[in-house]
Symmetry: C2
Subunit: 528 residues, 2 copies
Amino acid sequence: MNDDQFPDAATGDATSTPLERRRRPGGRSAERVRKSPGGKYLNLVNTLAKSTVLSDDALESVHEASLTILEEIGMDVILPEARERMKAAGADLTPGTDRVRFDRGLIMDMIASVPPAFTMHARNPARNVAIGGNNLVFAQIASAPFVADRDGGRRTGNQEDYRKLVKLAQSYDIVHTTGGYPVEPVDIHASVRHLDCLSDMVKLTDKVFHVYSLGKQRNTDGIEIARIGRGITMEQMEREPSLFTIINTSSPLRLDGPMLQGIIEMSSRNQVVVVTPFTLAGAMAPVTIAGALVQQNAEALCGIAFTQMVRRGAPVMYGGFTSNVDMKTGAPAFGTPEYMKAVVAGGQLARRYNIPYRTSNTNAANTLDAQAAYESAMSLWALTQGGGNFVMHAAGWTEGGLTASFEKFILDVDMLQMVAEYLTPLDVSEDALGLDAVRDVGPGGHYFGTLHTLQRYETAFYSPILSDWRNFETWTEAGRPTTSDHANRIFKQKLNEYERPPLDPAIEEELDAFVAKRKAEGGVPTDF
Amino acid sequence: MNDDQFPDAATGDATSTPLERRRRPGGRSAERVRKSPGGKYLNLVNTLAKSTVLSDDALESVHEASLTILEEIGMDVILPEARERMKAAGADLTPGTDRVRFDRGLIMDMIASVPPAFTMHARNPARNVAIGGNNLVFAQIASAPFVADRDGGRRTGNQEDYRKLVKLAQSYDIVHTTGGYPVEPVDIHASVRHLDCLSDMVKLTDKVFHVYSLGKQRNTDGIEIARIGRGITMEQMEREPSLFTIINTSSPLRLDGPMLQGIIEMSSRNQVVVVTPFTLAGAMAPVTIAGALVQQNAEALCGIAFTQMVRRGAPVMYGGFTSNVDMKTGAPAFGTPEYMKAVVAGGQLARRYNIPYRTSNTNAANTLDAQAAYESAMSLWALTQGGGNFVMHAAGWTEGGLTASFEKFILDVDMLQMVAEYLTPLDVSEDALGLDAVRDVGPGGHYFGTLHTLQRYETAFYSPILSDWRNFETWTEAGRPTTSDHANRIFKQKLNEYERPPLDPAIEEELDAFVAKRKAEGGVPTDF
């Protein structure tokens, strides 16, 4: 059921369960949901030939070295239940320790059952996203502790800003899914934060969302909220992955308890796991990019193999996040040439295993200056040419992920749309070749007023959100606004225009009841 | 003699003429010249698989349509001597008009003799540049009427700023050649401007430079100055292309007199011609990118064919400059998705004809904001993946070419160096794969102090000029500088550190004498 091709559920059939029919008399809500977005940026396909930075031999060297690590050194697996599952699958445990070693044959056998493509189902089928193959999906920023805009400066995350960012994600088709929490709303108590946040994900957007793997209960609550949001049975939910979680290894070579628990909860329900080692070359991984890639690959394969030990065929992605550090300070650096190479090499590895590839739109800028743009643009270059399928932090990420920026969100949306336009096939029809127009104009003329131009000019070119193409004099009269000024104006305008996507009142009622019940039960234990 | 491979003249043999030996007793000057730069950015090779946006069939459609234009519509050729040369080669003239039509067989026969690769020779052989194949050469901005920095604002071009910009071009290895005049120094009378400017090109840099095709005498003066600068005979100069000129068609479908004269002067002396139509879709070319490409290709092939009518085998490049306009205002737009597609398609066309490909690093920003960075980064993405060989305006271009920006120059140098680093092959030696380092650190450790890290960290990663990777607090304490602030500081620092490259006093004397003589003769006629 996992390797279906998009848009399998866009017909709406997928939601026509008895449960839903009962809840939506006459199907009016369903109609409203289905007719919503028809934007050109919904289903991106990247048919560019993929770049490579590793020769076939070098790719095999990285592959073999990473399997050697898993075989000889192994990983520390900080959850007894996970170690037992691994042992049952054939891994070697060292009694009295967390260490688990994996025969290369075991790893390769496990990853052979990973689906090469699958669909993530949203509560609005038009927002379903196809993962794998040549599909390119952009997810909003996740997990920033801080939020910033020009008006309010940089501040700790809170619910109001959280909601604004989720609304912005809903406002642009190019942001295909939300990520995790775009900013961590620390004004909500940690025991119930996931309930409020995921409830908002259902109400404020109709896109696929993410659940944090921070203990079993959060995963199961997230799965239930996604199920309620879609108005389907758990059986259907298991057939149709509708929720994803990011599993970060604790590099080097360690998988922590909550992450392992997350894999168990999500994979056993056939929900989407994204295994992403955070292998900063020179810090948590060897200082060489090749070495960091070897370690990334070992950790990713281990996590991915574990998803298949939990449930054969469960949907999972290969995540790459290798970058370098600033060797003067140890600070992470992003959007660098080293990052670009790692992204492209990661794509080669993921394609070698035929597993969908997760990347990120990164930068380490502290403000919306040229650095923010060039580091992001270089990231987009690499992940597009390198064959990224699922791009986390695609919109809003700044300061190495510490801050969700409202202005950067708009800048990223504009750049993402440019990437999408670049990927749109060039029209080379006879009409587009324009020989008749050239004949009409002839040498020395111009095309401004010709019929060929007039018929096409309104839609001929991408109309950017931010680029200021006025001449210097007009721009000066306008007060010399920068990209940052435009972005500040536009995010506020977009928030003013925001409308909640339609939601069946019966679903909202069930959702509210579930959240109230879980809050009354005390939410989840917090150990921080 | 033209399709040699780099670095053919780096041995210094090329300069060991009798003339030179006479002028450089003991060869000391030559020694000094030869030992100068050994920078890693001197000889860039781009082995990335080239992207395509045209299928093979579509490529042939563009090709055939452009030949149909030359056959059926023809070009207006505004120079009787050029029309006569074309007629002699087999083209059809319409008596009493400027119109010339070209049989497709004639065009294809002519371009068959274009050298697929050649070397442009600098007065310092270490600065020779290889053109064609997988070589990637960056040239400084050319021809801006305005110049700007943060201190002095935007102002009309002048000699002082001209010289500063040329000094900056000399200061970075990644800027392989100067372009034309980085800014037009209008405080020098037009009749003698080329003499002062090109004399500065010899004295302030040791890189290849450009001569404007604005009347026969400027071309011949430029050739003589380049010859004097290299200290060689005219015979050697003809064997070794040492100077280039940009030939812009007057789109649509017209070649003006000074441009045609430039081809005649330069190609007949075996110097380098770059034929670049300026085909803005929706203005001087059809509003469709495919149509604009058809017209670009027709105009480029016509100019290139003419170089071969002047001299078979003369070095020439295929220039692409197709972009779109802002349909709201008609203003040119750059670094757009449409520009990216045109750049990549242009590469496919140039490779189809096996002719070196000239592109540009463009943007339409009015200031050094995020727009300046993302439009340039998108340009660099396209021209790198699209196989550009020679990149005009690679450093300093802003405001659609109207302004040479000192700060943008530094930003571009940083981005160009990042591209160069990205193109550097990934080290996948056993040592780089780092298995032993991973064994040493093991699960849960870190790599900061390991021997593997300590041995490599100083050179492991590209150290950017501008990126500010300090954490938010430290950056705030430093006054929250932006990329633009850093660029402003650095260009001034670099100018302070500038040193003139060594120049044989005898050459300088001969150069000064030539310039003085030509000034005494009144320079060149000016009709503006």
